[in-house]
């Protein structure tokens, strides 16, 4: 792929393409749902039929038609067009998919979307406010706390929770309580530095 394709001047970039593709994917289950206008109790009898569910994502309500198998991670990425949360192992081992559920960090790849109904989901896309990065996002940039960046959204969500839990009070505790997020580029020392930088500002509120 040439640089030209990725340049803003081409009017086409990878992110816009992915977001657009995800947006298209939403239409498929919605159409399937329209052809199957069954009440929810009846839908439950047929495991293959999508179920209408309203998720609270970054303060907004999103109504999606989801197969019962859909995890929160897949709901975010494939149905809500939010590709910030990453799929690493898809088995709860790497932490790349970490989001906050009612303020608590969880791995979204092992959380069923239907079970998250009525709960507040916060993703990396929900952190920046008024064009200003969240202190933890800024700290990751300031401290160069990533190389390839694939694990970073999960690292940042986990780091915010780590601070709020009160586990960012020493380097050892930060390492222990960030151990659920694997970084294959091994940016760990810089991640610890980023958590330390952002912690006072987050705790100040």
């Amino acid at each position: 792929m040439s640089d030209k394709i990725n340049s803003p001047r081409s009017g086409f970039d990878r992110r816009a393409f992915l977001t657009g593709a995800a947006g298209t994917a939403v239409a498929i289950p919605l159409t399937a749902r329209a052809a199957n206008e069954l009440p929810q109790a009846a839908v439950a009898q047929d495991p293959a039929a999508p179920v209408q569910v309203t998720l609270r994502i970054n303060g907004e309500s999103r109504t999606l038609a989801l197969d019962a198998r859909t995890t929160v991670l897949d709901a975010l990425r494939e149905h809500a067009g939010l590709t910030g949360s990453k799929k690493g192992c898809d088995h709860g081992q790497c932490g790349a998919c970490t989001v906050l559920l009612d303020g608590q960090r969880v791995v979204s790849c092992l959380t069923l979307a239907l079970a998250a109904e009525g709960r507040e989901i916060t993703t990396i896309e929900g952190l920046a406010a008024g064009g200003k990065l969240h202190p933890m996002q800024q700290a990751f940039i300031d401290q160069d706390a990533f190389q390839c960046g694939y694990c970073t959204p999960g690292q940042i969500m986990s780091a915010i929770a780590c601070v709020r839990e009160g586990h960012a009070d020493s380097d050892d505790n930060i390492r222990e309580y960030m151990s659920g997020n694997i970084c294959r580029c091994a940016a760990y020392p810089n991640i610890v530095a980023a958590v330390k930088q952002a912690a006072p500002e987050i705790l100040k509120g």
Partner: protein, 338 residues
């Protein structure tokens, strides 16, 4: 993942009713077509791997309203089955009076998983035997009874040296259960005919000839809680792993002592990472009672704990390692300032 239907139970009655669909089945609990969903950290993982194939999930998380308590009442600790691992690990009174419980939870899994996983699900978590988890291996007596055991002469470095049978050497992977069995906890099980209570030591079943049957929990029943009698401020959980954090035990020890002027009045010892089930080392406990701990006694107790251990090609190192973990945990418990 195979398709399934999802149903949320609003209260225990509704949950038991929904689970009762398969209650009459003679299949092992883990093969029942209707499964309860709590934290999902084992179940969803194993469904993605096609190891577990339920047709219906009953989400029991709403039951947490009544089943998630942490209640230290006089000399009893009551823990609800739907309390999250992180909640119990971070509870100040549990940390102070039952460090072995708090540490067994804190040293397990990752912060994210501890926020999701419940105590009831924790004691039901299934082995990490790679042959069990990989359905491309046809041989697994636990997953596919009568098919054989690929681990027996396979890559068995992580496997058990205690409580094994010629059918299965899969390690029980948990940590919290060792604390429960050491402290003589009881487990409360709720079923159609009401709750029943039994000693936690009776809950898990060694593989024997039926490795597919892992506990005495029957289809249609739910774990509702645990009770620990007495307080055990002098208790520790020592866990040795391939890496320092976020890993299963190679060998671990739960130790609780009652000391008077340095003499051991009562000793409790349970082993993890080395056995097919949560393992109480009663022979070692007998060595310790009425004695003052020194290096020789710690060594003798450790030898007694592993007297029946049987290693295979890659896991024999666990016997030497496990003994050192036991001796270290005993010394650590004696040295505690309480």
């Amino acid at each position: 993942m195979r398709s399934f239907s999802y149903q949320r139970a609003s209260d225990p009655q509704a949950a038991l009713q929904a689970l009762a669909v398969t209650a009459a089945a003679t299949t092992p609990l883990t093969d029942a077509s209707t499964q309860p969903l709590a934290g999902g950290t084992t179940l969803i993982d194993l469904m993605k791997l096609d190891v577990m194939r339920p047709e219906r999930l009953v989400d029991i998380n709403p039951l947490a309203a009544n089943w998630a308590q942490i209640n230290l009442d006089g000399a009893h600790l009551k823990l609800g089955a739907l309390a999250h691992m992180s909640h119990v690990a971070g509870h100040a009174e549990v940390q102070q009076n039952y460090p072995v419980i708090a540490d067994s939870l804190k040293l397990a899994a990752s912060p994210q998983l501890r926020n999701m996983a419940t105590l009831g699900g924790n004691v039901l978590q299934r082995t990490r035997c790679s042959y069990f988890r990989d359905v491309s291996y046809p041989e697994c007596n636990k997953r596919n009874p009568g098919s054989g055991c690929a681990a027996m002469d396979g890559f068995n470095r992580m496997h058990a040296v205690l409580g094994t049978s010629d059918q299965c050497i899969a390690t029980y992977p948990g940590d919290f259960a060792q604390a429960l069995i050491a402290l003589d906890a009881t487990i409360e099980i709720t079923g159609k005919s009401g709750p029943r209570t039994l000693s936690f030591a009776e809950f898990h079943k060694a593989p024997g000839d039926t490795p597919a049957i892992e506990t005495v929990l029957a289809p249609g029943e739910l774990i509702s809680g645990f009770t620990i009698n007495g307080r055990w401020p002098r208790s520790v959980y020592v866990k040795v792993r391939d890496r320092q954090s976020y890993e299963f035990a190679l060998a671990s020890a739960a130790v609780a002592l009652d000391l008077q002027d340095g003499v051991i009045n009562d000793a409790r010892l349970a082993l993890g990472g080395v056995a097919t089930v949560p393992w109480r080392a009663r022979e070692a406990e007998a060595f310790l009672k009425g004695q003052k701990l020194d290096d020789t006694l710690a060594e003798h107790a450790a030898d007694a704990a592993f007297a029946d251990a049987r290693g295979r090609q890659h896991n024999a190192f666990k016997i030497a390692l496990g003994k050192r973990v036991v001796a270290h945990a005993l010394k650590k418990a004696v040295a505690m300032e309480i």
